[in-house]
């Protein structure tokens, strides 16, 4: 791992209403495992699919090893007007050449989290959820799985299980 870009998303992150705690945590994990990595935190992106997509397209020619989108992985705004709009997963689906994905639903049928792991050219691209404990767990699982040389599916599965483990939910049911 030589170069990585971290892209926090969320209007509340960009305007400073909420502190960005996730990016520093991900940087720590990345640097701990790859001391020589050149990691860049970009300006937080607004919750807008086109904006996210344009930023991803700008980074592609630089061929970084890793791009991480942070936040915007749920579907809450579809059920509550006051929640942020979540578009990282839909932007990634449009952007990636190939990807694996998993969706975690609550028992109420609401999408709680959608994680993707995919490739665009030589670049590996993932997303992690916004809540701190979920971002931390997902990225830790990613690093562990990626370091073993796992496939996109295996990395995605490891990340989803790590996020799921943050809910007091008992056994997961895969359908």
């Amino acid at each position: 791992m030589k170069t990585a870009y971290l892209l926090p998303t969320g209007n509340e992150i960009q305007n400073g209403i909420v502190l960005d705690l996730d990016t520093p945590e991900l940087m720590i994990q990345l640097i701990r495992r790859f001391p020589q990595v050149q990691v860049t935190r970009l300006c937080p992106l607004l919750d807008d699919e086109e904006i996210i997509l344009r930023q991803l397209e700008k980074l592609t020619p630089m061929q970084p090893d890793l791009i991480v989108l942070i936040g915007g992985s749920g579907g809450g705004h579809r059920f509550s007007k006051t929640l942020s709009r979540d578009f990282t997963h839909s932007a990634l689906e449009r952007f990636l050449d190939e990807h694996a994905s998993r969706e975690i639903y609550g028992k109420n049928g609401h999408l709680w989290c959608k994680l993707l792991c995919g490739k665009k050219g030589v670049t590996l691209v993932i997303n992690v959820p916004g809540p701190f404990v979920e971002a931390k767990a997902a990225f830790s699982a990613f690093l562990e799985s990626w370091s073993k040389g796992d496939s996109l599916e295996m990395i995605n599965s490891a990340m989803a299980q790590a996020v799921f483990a943050q809910y007091p939910a008992g056994a997961a049911q895969t359908v």
């Binding site: 209403i17 579809r78 509550s80 994905s101 049928g109 709680w112 979920e134 599916e153 809910y167 939910a169």
Partner: protein, 120 residues
């Protein structure tokens, strides 16, 4: 490529506190303070300049409602939050379980309207 669905069988309720002044909120600290107060797992899911919305797992909504002022006082201790005379709390009932067959059988990235707007 593989796509899977996972169902989380967690009980949760949504707690919304409005009428706040929010700037530079430390969500991790807020989750810890409130978790200690109500002895349940707390996850901040939405923040605006004047409100905070949180998922509260495995908790009884009625108990939270009974101590609304205590909850508001605890929340106001978090970095980045100031309570005002307009501050109030709303706590939903626990989420209801739905038939898994209602979960869409195609990967979802948008509601029906969004899919219609993006149609080829």
């Amino acid at each position: 490529m593989e796509h899977q669905y996972i169902i989380a069988h967690a009980d949760k309720t949504v707690l919304k506190i409005s009428g706040l002044q929010v700037k530079g909120l430390n969500t991790r600290e807020l989750e810890q303070i409130l978790s200690d107060k109500i002895h349940s797992l707390v996850r901040v899911i939405g923040v605006t300049g004047d409100s905070v919305e949180m998922d509260i797992y495995e908790a009884e909504p009625e108990q939270i409602r009974k101590d609304a002022q205590g909850v508001i006082r605890a929340v106001a201790l978090a970095e980045g939050i100031t309570a005002t005379e307009l501050t109030q709390m709303v706590c939903s009932e626990k989420i209801l379980e739905v038939d898994y067959n209602l979960i869409p059988d195609q990967p979802v990235s948008g509601c029906a309207k969004e899919k219609w707007m993006k149609r080829p």
